[in-house]
Amino acid sequence: MAVKEIDVKLFAKMFLAGAKYLDNSKEEINELNVFPVPDGDTGTNMTMTIVSAAKEVRDLGEDPDMKSLCKAMSGGSLRGARGNSGVILSQLLRGFTKAVRDEQVITVPLFGAACTKAVETAYKAVMKPTEGTILTVARGMGEKAAELIEDGADDFETIIPALYEHGNAVLAQTPELLPVLKQAGVVDSGGAGLMKVIQGALDMFQGKEIDLTISDDPIAKPDDSRPGKAADIQKNIYHTQMKTSISKPVNRQLESDVKSYLASIGELIAFKADDNEVYLEMNTDDPGLVVQKALKFGILSDVKITCRVQNKTADQSASAPAPEEPKGEPSEFGFVAVSAGDGLADIFRSLGVDHVIEGGQTMNPSTADILDAIEKVNAKTVFVLPNNKNIIMAANQARDLTTEKTVLVIPTKTIPQGITAAINFSDGSSADENEQTMIEAIGTVKTGEITYAVRDTNIDDHDIRKGDFMGIGDKKILSVGTDMDQVVIEMITAMVDDSSELISLYYGADVSDGDAGALKDKIAERFPGLDVDIQRGGQPVYYYITSVE
């Protein structure tokens, strides 16, 4: 029997099934990382984005109307959006729902128009759309839908499977459009994530048995409270659990060190390590410390932080739970910055940043996290320093959702760019002048970051083996090797030119003060005409973040 219409109930179920399917495949998407660095997160970001919407849909109950359903899908994904692919996914949903929200059912022609609207909206959200990404995959499906409908297709049973098939074909072509994908031997991760959503929706459409329970995982908003248990717990109030995928087995010494550390900051419930994964569960007052520690082993997944007092679930990348009420007269200017690591947070605060959102490459804060931070800053104009190219879009989205204040996002792609922007701020200048000065200033600083490879690959003409150290510059990989200091020095050599004056190093949580000091001496010796400034950044994953200016 031909299906000519999708009603609200089916639409909601298809959406939930899509979200669920992506959630179940997120690790697979995380693996599709161009750089072999331990920060693959597209799957996590997109999942968090869509689950944020799915939860709002779930909360509408069994029988929602079209308008509320669309509002939940659009608003939930907008606020939950993390990372560039997450933001684009949220814009696709926003465009699609905008086209259908005033109708009772989705007809075939309406579906075609909604697909077109979705693609349009997503392209508009990106300043410089890149082909070979989620955008291309979405556009491919949008065009296919239009084509099929024009050719007379009037039945979803024909259209939806055809779109799925065509989307996968476009996805398979992404390496041909984007050389970095081809070199890394992967398809685009955002596009792959989108196809997981479509697959889930298709499965539901075709009547497969799917569990649509959307559980409260870490993405829940801080105020998403549910009936709580006894409120008499006063110590170790956060129940914290997480899994970490590990690249090499944990040795006994490290295991016992970590266990005793964890025991010192709370009550350790479980710590299990096998060859692939570390699972840990504990009650603590400072889940941030636990996350920091767990990050030492590898990539985090399934982070769940629950407040045992009111049974509130909190986002793992959200900062201090206590909301600070803005008091008194607002100041002219305020700053929000995103950074990971206590040292870097201190540096940003010392430069006048009012609110530091803990996050970065491995933990992209959501639009809602950034909105929260903006709200906490009692100023008329708030500058936002995303400090990561994957956070800029979420920051822009937060800016667009802010009504009470002026928000200016300075598109800082790295920590050193953020530091430079903050330094160049001047209280005496206007918001526009400051924006311009800061944007100009970030062009004067070069960034290089040191991390390790999680797989063998060849990229930018470097043969990289799993476990190698890599120096990643603003545009490409600058150095690779097994001796970390050597990799840092080679990377800096590639960054320095005649006009360079200052080399800054921010060393990460996994580098000791002594090792950092010794490296500083080597660098000073190697570049006698330049000043070398070294600071403890305390960031995870990146042993060193360096800049040359």
Binding site: I419, E501, S504, E549
Partner: protein
Amino acid sequence: MSLKIAVVTDSNSSMSMEEAKELGIHMLPMPFFIGGKEYLDGVTLTHEEFYERLKGGDEIHTSQPSPDSVMKLWDELLQEYDEIVHIPMSSGLSGSTGSAYLLAQHYDDKVQVVDNQRISVTLRQSCLDALELAGRGMNARQIKDELERVKFESSIYIMINTLEYLKKGGRLTPAAAAIGTILRIKPVLQIQGEKLDSFAKTRTLQGGKEIMINAIRKDMETRFGCTENFHNVHLEMAYTYDLEEAEKFKEELSAAFPGYEICMRPLSLSIACHIGPGALAVAVSKKI
């Protein structure tokens, strides 16, 4: 027959004793103390010796010219001149103006103390302006009034190489003290009239130079109405210790502002001891 007027300043005008003499300006050397011993700026201590001791970490304290030395000079001058225009360093940075004002009460109206908040190269220019006004036939009182009327018509930006010395001397305004202390930062401070205040921050020499050039350009255009062909201000430069770097900056400044004659002088030692070596400054004073 017009009055004979003497112009007096102190060595914070960044002139050497010789230059002052040549220009017909009478100058009091600023005293300072190193290890309890008194030295006179440019008289009993050379710049080279001074920076050696500053870098060596010697405690250096500055002071004002003693009342005795001020009155002695005035008394001498009044033998030859009818009136005196006395222009000390900015009252925002030192008590010299206040003390001189008190002393001048004993001289009826013959000594006029000018409170126009100039320092270094802009103070030097003020002295030249005073001579010019005297040449036009003004008396000391009229010169004082005119110089004070235009006291805000000058601007100084100064890039400090390190905050170390300012912190040591307790000369930072709260705004400047709030500048990040974790990272290596070079503040650009400004003097508009009264105190030193923070203007911008940078991490590199090049960045600081650009900030100062842009700031001066903006002042020239918006505050003083300069255009490409209408040079309404004197362009000036000062530095501490590093002449080579200063010469380089002077060239860059000439390139940025073609057609201006740039007066460059080392900052006086009593300022240098508060900001340390390696500072660069740009200033403009509006032509009278």
